[in-house]
Symmetry: C2
Subunit: 312 residues, 2 copies
């Protein structure tokens, strides 16, 4: 048998230069300001129409912490829209899921006005993604659990180390609204799903802190409930926050770093998560599954050690 | 002016020997088992009828952590009933408040069967108390916020470092159901209230941990919303958990100790909280306010340094 010649460019920056755009809810220059502050990543210096990914942040996280991940995906030709759903929240996610729905609905009214003039959004190719609590929110929204009705439909769903609850020192619990049902393949999503997990997310750091992505509520449980087609990538030696920027400024960033078990450096995990997202989007939005298949066949082309499961 | 001769015995053990009784929800020997496991403290080896205090525990706490406080108050002639409302819970308190209501309703059906045979409960003198999240729950229940209707009424309310919310690294929020309204004297309680606060509860330990009883959601805010008669005692150099047993076994106890700022030893604070409760009960259930007045006039008779405010 010949040596594998599998290769992919998804883990490198893509061909587009990118721009990060911050949009305020009270921007006086906008006819339709968004319902939540946005961090948008877009291809720049080029004319074109691009698919859109809505990215929901994790608990205590600022959208700016995802700026490198956002730029990675955008450089491959995607418009990334990350709303700051809340800055302070109790464990109940109901409000942030509704805010995510409202932000999604805003896209058809207000996104065009804030993109670079030569760039347009293809809202027929709309993807929903979320990290941690935002991953739970993304599944909830895709499953129709928002009380704010969705005016647009999603073509694919990406959960980045999603967590359907929280843990204290001594126990873990599902937060509202519950998403996991504990029934295999129960999610009636009608769209392809990719779940990316962190191998260290279910570990405790320093014993005192609870696990950031406790077992039974984390990526593995989400994948278990997905129907075909669904992908599950787990990065063995990386933690729940390792897809964030290297420098997550301020107390929130410090706490996120201190509380969760981390890999040795965030850069490989961030490139992996960004690249896996691109491979997934190319397959299910672009009809080109070569990168995804290459990853399945030859997981060691990824920049981190991974396991791959697919339900096809 | 003569030196003060104020004195009180409330901070010492009282005249009754006490017994601690654990009652299970599935006890086959009971016709009416309680809806939640109970830790009961009762005067022992003596015949008599005693007032009853329902004590709601704090977040992550086990009722056993209150055994010394319970025995202190019981030794002065009170039956203490502490339900284990939950062992694992999200930030929403709705379920635990309903469980507290159900436990209260159970008292008239099942309490007599679990007390020492010569002891009887005077449910016409029923007091509600709670610590931390349980303090919030006690106020909520007294304010009629349980969906389970109360079949008994309370004669007095004691909040032990009550907290109407939680804090993460960087923010604080009110948890459901909200109790504080931010309007002075808004609580339509129609019963006397004592609020005991910890001076260190709003401090952060090691910076990484959030304050256990954050400002704006803590004892001071609760007292602000109480109407006359209301008392506010604050123990300056003690923390949010310092009224618990010296030895709070297990991971929960260790975490509670590690996460909250503490005084140098729990014993004086525990005797203070127990004694303040006894002084309050003597005044409003027993018609004898000498101890309470002595504390107001001469705060230094307390075993810890305190400030006293009264709205009479």
């Amino acid at each position: 048998m010949a040596a594998s010649t599998a290769t992919t460019d998804v883990f490198l920056s893509g061909k587009y230069k990118t721009v990060l755009i911050s949009v305020d809810t009270s921007s006086s220059s906008l006819v339709n300001p968004p319902p939540k502050p946005l961090l948008i990543g877009s291809p720049a210096e080029v004319a074109g129409e691009f698919p859109v990914m809505v990215l929901l942040h994790g608990y205590m996280m600022e959208t700016s912490f995802y700026s490198q991940l956002i730029q990675h995906v955008s450089s491959h030709g995607y418009i990334m829209v990350a709303p700051q759903l809340y800055t302070c929240a109790a464990s109940d996610s109901t409000d942030d899921i509704n805010a995510a729905a409202a932000t999604t609905n805003w896209l058809s009214q207000g996104l065009a006005a804030v993109l670079p003039s030569q760039v347009s959004a293809n809202l027929a190719k709309l993807v929903l993604a979320g990290h941690s609590r935002g991953g739970k929110g993304a599944f909830a929204l895709a499953l129709g659990k928002s009380s704010t009705p969705l005016a647009l439909s999603f073509s694919a769903l990406l959960g980045i180390d999603p967590v359907d609850g929280a843990a204290s020192c001594c126990c873990k619990f599902q937060t509202k609204p519950p998403v996991l049902t504990k029934v295999a393949q129960s999610f009636d999503l009608n769209m392809p799903v990719m779940v990316v997990g962190s191998g260290l997310g279910e570990d405790k750091k320093y014993k005192v802190f609870p696990a950031c992505a406790p077992k039974g509520l984390n990526h593995a449980a989400f994948f278990e409930e997905c129907r075909s087609p669904a992908w599950h990538f787990v990065a063995k030696d990386y933690g729940h926050m390792d897809m964030l920027d290297d420098d997550t400024k301020g107390i929130r960033g410090v706490v996120s770093y201190c509380m969760c078990e981390n890999g040795s450096s965030r850069e490989p995990m961030r490139r992996f998560v960004g690249g896996a997202a691109v491979a997934f989007l190319r397959a299910y939005l672009g009809g080109d599954d070569r990168d995804l298949m290459a990853l399945q066949d030859t997981p060691d082309i990824a920049p981190v050690q991974i396991t791959v499961e697919a339900r096809l």
